[in-house]
Symmetry: C2
Subunit: 332 residues, 2 copies
Amino acid sequence: MRLDAQVGGESALIERIARKAQDFTPLEQIAIVQGIGDDTAVLLADGQTLLWTADMLLEGVHFRLDWIDPRSLGWKSLAVNLSDIAAMGGAPIGALLSMALPPKRTGEWLDAFVEGFVECARACSTALLGGDTNRFEQVVVDVSVLGVVSGRPVLRNGARQGDWILVTGGLGGSKAGLEALQAGETDNIDLTPHFRPVPRLQAGALARELGATAMMDLSDGLAADLPKLLRASGSGAVVYPAQVPVHPVARQWAQAHGLDPALFAIAGGEDYELLITAPPPKAERMLERIPKQTGTALSKIGEVVAEPELWLEYPDGRRESFEIAGWDHFTA
Amino acid sequence: MRLDAQVGGESALIERIARKAQDFTPLEQIAIVQGIGDDTAVLLADGQTLLWTADMLLEGVHFRLDWIDPRSLGWKSLAVNLSDIAAMGGAPIGALLSMALPPKRTGEWLDAFVEGFVECARACSTALLGGDTNRFEQVVVDVSVLGVVSGRPVLRNGARQGDWILVTGGLGGSKAGLEALQAGETDNIDLTPHFRPVPRLQAGALARELGATAMMDLSDGLAADLPKLLRASGSGAVVYPAQVPVHPVARQWAQAHGLDPALFAIAGGEDYELLITAPPPKAERMLERIPKQTGTALSKIGEVVAEPELWLEYPDGRRESFEIAGWDHFTA
């Protein structure tokens, strides 16, 4: 797959906004390291680097209330934002929660939502600090998270030829849960990976410390997100499907439906695992230390190449372009 | 009006959330000065005081797209958040913009919205730094603003007996615009106060510097917001209707409809002027310096009293309770 292809949808909207927003006049004492375009804004304020991100979740678009329980929705609303902080190697300071909700959701439903939100906050050593509540016909959740990083945050654009490509945890578990919900076949499927993604804060911080050149979280799936990282870095990659860590739930679902588990995992989506690049010696140190120190698995899945192309390489040496593999529609 | 009365609606929801969110575990290096409950969270990070606020605006609830043009909506979405920073005496660092919008709004409409947003950002020396965009059937805007204050921010709870009560600008102009839109009588009414509130950042910063004891912005109208400040401060007040600054547009609208201009202005709503309390010598200095240095008018409208009651006092010495004046429904 060529990586300079036009990307539609949200990227085009963001570009449209960025064009209008350029040449602003910020405070003198604040340096904007990274503004519109990345998932997270980076601010240098008095020698301290602040990370700042927001994500909106909409009923009927990002979640269905007949599928997800309020406690899980609360957890997930915060977790997806913390994941953006993790992807820069930062630690969260706190979160603001803006909500719109119908009157019938303001009682026990809201209590359970906030319980899940706070459960995730505690698990990640952070706090709910405030927000805004409104009545509306549908549930809308917008979470803004502020984080801090000591030293330089890791951006998307630093991957270099020869870097190894690593991912945390296992991929495809959330997609399996989503497909099970869509098919109404949830009896034997663990929905936890879909409902309760775990922000990889410790792994992200350690990867930064050990010299990651680029990092991002996998929200749209490896097949969609790796091209974004490579485009930002002006590079290409070879990925080894046999080395992609397949989440057990993804393996179970793929096998039950006659799908290739590795390709299913690569398509993924909403895994919120970290995609990391680093030169080999540093990557080797990560492979050794991150699982040991953080309890989070880490796998080498490929290497960065200079040409802006994406290839799959199989154990028998056979290479396929992403396009040939038929994944192109995942990147739209 | 008794100030210890139960307040329904959003306050009850916020209390419900706060109960669930208490006893969190934040980062050690961050002190949370003010969490859930105020409009704005206050964080002490490495000796720097950060202010952080978010406000969600929903189509059909906070705005109607057949009434407000996208450029004005962009301005207003940012302005109402900057107003929260102004109310603490802070300066904005930047803003994140999360949006949901239908496909037909992603072209020229979005351009105009962002132009208005950035116009407000420039006017207030701040910047749009990032955000999130999503497709949805209705327009939802959630803006998060980060600000900074040198020294102690001004909260709502510092008003003390004998303090003077001051307000910036003129009140009721936005309410006049809203009523004109509702009545379909917009021909001779200036809608600017309703569409383009001006965040009083310079006035707020100077009021803080000169020793304001409490401050908040008037989003729900003086009749609703003054009780909030007094409740937080454990005090009451006497307000002089004859001294309340009536916005020219409010005066025009009230007179054309046989309403008392001062009572109309006191009911107000969406004025985004600042409500300030300060002991007399400091208040006098503000009355002299804020108009001169910032170009924003400032008026003394009353005094803080110890008893938790709210009174109107007329030039002839006659006193009326807020309840007697029939304003109680504005505070619901």
